[in-house]
Each structure stands twice: as C-alpha cells, then as structure tokens.
C-alpha cells in the first residue's frame, strides 16, 4: 500500500511517500501563508519527482500546525504522535524524541512499540525554538545555515541569561558592542536555547537513546550543545526534518 504524510509546519511544509513501509521519497518546501496551497504543492512536487499519480496514494495523514487545513488528507494527527512514530520507524531503539521546530519545541517518550507515553511542549514563548535561533542569527548577521557550525569554534561561550527572545537579542547586541568574539556569542546563544530544551525534556524524564528531529536538528551547534547538557550522544537522522511527515505516512498505513 502506498501512503503519504504531509507535515505543515509554521515555516516549512514537508511530504513523505511510503510504499508498504519503504520510503519512496521526501520533500521540503516553504509554507507561505496558505496552508492548503502549500500542502498541495509539496505533495504534487513530490509525486512528480517520483513519477507517481495522486490516485496511486491510498491513504494520506496530515500533521503539524496546518494539519486541519489539508483537505485532501484522510485524517489529521498531531505532530506528537507523528514524530514518535517517525522516530520509531527510523530507529526502533529510540526512547526519547526531541523535536525542535520553527515555533515550538517538544520532547516525547516512546515505548518499544513506538507508542508515545508522555510529552511536553514549550510554553507560549519562542525561547528554545527555531525562531529564537533565527532572530539571533539575524542579529549576528550570520547565515542561519552556518550559525550552528560557527558555535563549535568558540573558545569560551558567552553567557546569555535572558530567556526572552527580545531581551536575549538586546543582550547579544550589547555583547557585540563590547567586542566579544563572535563565535563565543553564537555558542552562548546555542547554550541558552539548549538549556531551555533540556529543562523541558527533563520534566518528563528523558531516557536514552535520544533522537533529535525537526528543522533545528540540522543545526550542529544545537545538537552539540544538547549533547553536552544530556551528557550523551544524540542521534540525528538525515531525515530529521521530514520525520513528522514520515511518521504521518506510517500512521496512514494503519488507517
């Protein structure tokens, strides 16, 4: 059976197509302001890339913030379940999934069957999310893609004490004007975001092995900062960004 998962996040739309449990392809594009169009586009582009027809997909599950706006999906499910299922699909040994996306971060515990046992989400605050890093990268005039890697070159990370994105930005600006080494500030920013995510994950008692998913998993600085906090390695799959869509496609197979 061929199934698809469509994950509409605040910044990017992701699609994955599976054939009897095997990944045929995945795709990422920008969400823009219209969820329905974004969902259609990412799905159709992926179909075209794979040379498939929409009719050949038997079941579709949508997820992410825009999940209820995807009219062609058979069912909408939350990111929590989809990320748990996706991570379990990629590595069944994983027990904790840390998902950091554009506007939220969450941690979830999965059992040996891939069922989610518990979860926490960030409260209404951009701290510890992709948006936080984005704002900071802009303040530092650094390309977001290089942001994480730069943090690895820090001699001694600066201390950013504000949790609030707006206050942290002013702290960063004052560090810049004091002439603090750029890499140190960037590392401090990553430390700050990581401690926020770490504290959240500890609330449900994160247990290894830990996998990180979501767009921010591409940021090596964030992964390393989190590894330091957890004092253990964190697995990141090449498919981290499309993990939710994969999970949705897996769940579509069970509909």
């Amino acid at each position: 059976m061929r199934t698809a998962g469509i994950d509409i996040g605040s910044i990017t739309a992701k699609a994955a197509i599976l054939d009897t449990g095997k990944i045929l392809g995945t795709r990422v594009s920008f969400t823009g302001y219209n969820v329905e169009i974004a969902a259609k586009k990412v799905f159709e582009d992926l179909l075209e890339e794979l040379g498939l027809k929409a009719q050949s997909i038997e079941r579709i599950v949508s997820t992410g913030y825009g999940r209820n706006g995807v009219a062609f999906a058979h069912k909408a499910m939350t990111e929590i379940i989809c990320h748990g299922t996706g991570a379990h699909y990629l590595n069944p040994r994983v027990r904790t999934v840390i998902d950091v996306g554009g506007q939220d971060s969450k941690a979830l515990l999965v059992d040996e069957n891939g069922a989610v046992k518990d979860f926490v989400m960030n409260d209404k605050c951009a701290a510890g999310t992709g948006r936080f890093l984005e704002v900071m990268a802009r303040a530092m005039e650094v390309n977001l893609d290089d942001f994480g890697a730069l943090s690895l070159n820090a001699g001694s990370p600066s201390k950013i004490s504000s949790i609030c994105t707006v206050f942290a930005e002013s702290e960063v600006i004052s560090l810049i004007s004091k002439g603090e080494v750029r890499e140190n500030i960037i590392a401090g920013i990553h430390d700050s975001a990581a401690s926020r995510v770490y504290a959240m994950a500890q609330r449900i008692g994160a247990t290894p092995p830990i996998m990180m998913t979501g767009g921010v998993a591409k940021n090596i600085g964030m992964v390393r900062a989190l590894e330091k906090k957890f004092n253990q390695t964190i697995e990141v799959s090449d498919l981290a960004q499309v993990n939710g869509a994969i999970g949705a496609a897996v769940l579509a197979g069970r509909l």
Binding site: Y65, T78, E79, D104, V116, D118, V120, M121
Partner: protein, 409 residues
C-alpha cells in the same frame, strides 16, 4: 431523537433558577446603600459565616472576576491595571478588580461599594496587598484573617493562633456593624453552611457515575452559590434541587456529553473566557471532564468541622484548605480523586495568575505519573486575561493528549 432534542435533554433544568438566584443576589447587593444593609468584600476562601450571622451582604471580587473573564472583559481591564502601574505577572483577578473599582466598568456596572473588607490569606499572599489597596481606595476598615501555611499537618500553636482571630473577627464585625454577634444564630448558620457543603459534595459525587451526569464545566457554573451564599438556606434548597436533578439524569442515563469514552480530571481554576471552546474541544474527543480540584475546594475541609462547635472548628477548616497545604498533601488528594472518579488522564491549567495553585503542579504531575501512570497535560494561561491564551498551541496539545489517552485505553 434529533441532535437538537438530545442537546436539549442534556441541558440543566436548574440552570435557570441558578441565574435567578445570582441576579437577585447582585440586585440586593447593589441596592444595599438604599436598604441600609452593610456590604463586605471578602476573599473566596474567607470565613463568610460570621458575615451571614451579622446580616452583612458578602460580595466576592473573585466571583466577579470570573464574570469579567466569562464576559470577555478581562484583557481590557487587565491592560488598564497595567497602565496604572501593576505588573502583568499579578493575578488577573486582582488586576481586573483594581481597574474595575476605578472605572465602575465591568459586568453589571461594577460591584457595590464595600463598607468593610475581609481578607483571608488561606488562598494566597496576593489578596493581602490587593485588599490593602482597596481599603485605601474605598477608605473602609479591613480585617485580615491570617492563616499560617500548613506544610504538614496543623499544629496546636496554629490552632490557638487562628482561633484567637475568630474572636477578633467577631469584635471587628460588632464594631463596624454596631451590633452584637448573635451566638444562637451563628449555630444555625454553621449548620446550614455544613449542610450546603455536604450537598455540594454530593452533587460533585454524582460524577462518579458512568456516564457522568455533569462535567467540571457545569460544576464551574453551579459553584457560584457555595462560594457566595454559604451558610444561607438558599444554598441548601438549591443544591437539594440540583442533586435531585443529577440523580434523575443518572436514572434516565443522561450523560453530560453525548458519548463519554474518556474521563478526565481538571486541575486549577477554569479558563473563564474559554469554557465553551474547551468543553466542545474535549467533547469532540468523547472526553468528559468529570471532576476538578477547584470546585472541590469549597467542601474539601468538612472533615475538620465539628457540626456542634462550628465557630471553634472553623479555624482549622479554613486554614487547611487546598491552597494552603503542602504539595504532598495536595498530590494525595489528587490521587484520591483519580481513583474516586476513575479518570483516564489529568489536565493541568498552569495558571500564571495563581501562583499557589500552579507552583507545585510539575511535582504533582510526576507523582501522578509515578503512582498511577496516567497521562497529564499542561495548559499555560491566565484565568481572566485572554491575551495569555494561545489557541493553536492548546488545540494541538489537547489533540496529542487525547491521542495518548485513547492509545492507552
């Protein structure tokens, strides 16, 4: 039966009477200056019975705060208080009430002016400053009933200390009202207060039935009387009627929601401006909020009351209420409710307004998970200030939570 007919069947007959009583109550309070009856503003957990004995009309800024929230006036009033210099982190009841007093705005054109204020800090420390501000503003006497926090148990020293204040409270009332405290009447009022609390507990207990005849959202509505008119016959009569209706519903198999599959416990104050949205949201998942820690607070200390010695024993009862005890004891009572109502999950409102209610929640959550292995979820908000509520986040969280609850069942 059509959906509309089913909906009608689920409506409460007693709801109308409740509205009538509350309207009469507020009319009486608002016309007190003409009838010459004194009005006291009192905190929600305060000892109201002596006021009833003295024929003083008790008025509750917190109950009024709930009205402000439910009528979507909270954000505006809170913003006004902030413009006056009050912090956004302050309890939204306090902010709304402080702004309202100045404005005479809010529902029903504001509260009647107080002749005295009675502040009991068994619910929080916020009320101390809040009532001091209002005492200065209205230039009226303030009585502070100080209940020490009960980390564990209740010491003899605390008992003596609180009991002593009941005498001072009575002196205060006698001075302000210029009349004697009638001891015989106080015995009657005490009896009625206990009777009312017992009936309220019985009403809440009907939710142990499956399907539950009521939800916590209904309890939030029916609660107003035990808060405001405790100690009067009105409460006893009304809850007797309500209890009959609940039992009838049970007999006829009428559930509060169409299809109860999951039973949920709610912790903390309601989110007053989102009651409808939340109740529909949970009902759409076939989840019935069967019980809550909030409405239980007004009958939770009956075990400490000696019916034949109300005045003496109320010292202990008023000190040991839910918000004035340690986290372990709070957790114990939550665990008890989980068993009693046979719930499948717990929803906690992390209420940024109410610190004493919200501080221990993460610990309680961990205790619940350890002892019962039940899923818990958190909703962050302020109970009256709508600016703090993020619909899409809460929506996603409830969906995910219900997915987990249904997976487990």
């Amino acid at each position: 039966m059509s959906t509309q007919e089913q909906k009608n069947k689920r409506k409460f007959r007693s709801a109308g009477r409740m509205r009538e009583i509350m309207t009469e109550y507020y009319i009486e309070a608002k016309s007190a200056s003409q009838t010459g009856k004194p009005v006291a503003w009192i905190t929600s957990g305060g000892p109201v019975e002596p006021l009833i004995v003295m024929d003083v009309i008790p008025v509750y800024p917190e109950n009024y705060g709930a009205m402000i929230g439910a009528s979507h006036m909270g954000s505006d009033l809170c913003a006004k208080a902030e413009a006056m210099g009050y912090s956004m982190d302050l309890c939204s009841y306090a902010r709304a009430d402080i702004a309202c007093a100045l404005e005479n705005g809010g529902p029903i054109g504001g509260l009647p002016k107080p002749d005295m204020l009675v502040c009991c800090n068994n619910i929080c420390g916020t009320v101390l400053k809040w009532y001091e501000i209002q005492a200065r503003y209205f230039n009226v006497p303030l009585f502070i009933f100080d209940t020490p926090f009960c980390h564990t148990g209740f010491s003899d020293a605390a008992r003596t200390y609180v009991r002593k204040q009941i005498d001072e409270y009575i002196d205060f009332l006698e001075t302000v009202c210029r009349k004697k405290f009638d001891l015989d009447k106080s015995i009657e009022v005490g009896h009625r207060s206990i009777q009312g609390q017992r009936l309220w507990q019985k009403v809440l207990d009907t939710a142990t039935h499956k399907p539950s005849p009521m939800t916590a959202f209904d309890a939030f509505f029916f609660l107003a009387l035990i808060v405001t008119l405790r100690g009067t016959q009105t409460v006893v009569d009304y809850y007797t009627e309500l209890l009959d209706e609940m039992n009838e519903r049970i007999e006829q198999g009428i559930g509060a929601i169409e299809n109860e599959r999951y039973r949920i416990l709610w912790d903390n104050l309601p989110i007053w401006y989102r009651l409808k949205w939340l109740s529909e949201k949970f009902a759409s998942h076939d989840a019935c909020l069967v019980a809550d820690t909030y409405t239980t607070a007004w009958c939770g200390t009956m075990k400490y009351i000696d019916e034949n010695n109300f005045i003496d024993s109320m010292a202990e009862a008023y000190t040991r209420i839910y918000l004035n005890i340690g986290v372990d004891e709070m957790a114990e009572s939550v665990l008890g409710m989980i068993d009693k109502y046979e719930v499948d999950g717990v929803v906690m409102h992390s209420n940024r307004s109410c610190k004493p209610y919200s501080f221990g929640q993460y610990d309680i959550q961990q205790i619940i998970q350890k002892e019962k292995g039940l899923p818990c979820m958190m909703i962050e908000s302020h109970m009256v200030d709508e600016r703090s509520f993020s619909e899409s986040q809460v929506d996603a969280r409830i969906d995910a939570f219900m997915e987990i609850v249904s997976q487990r069942k």
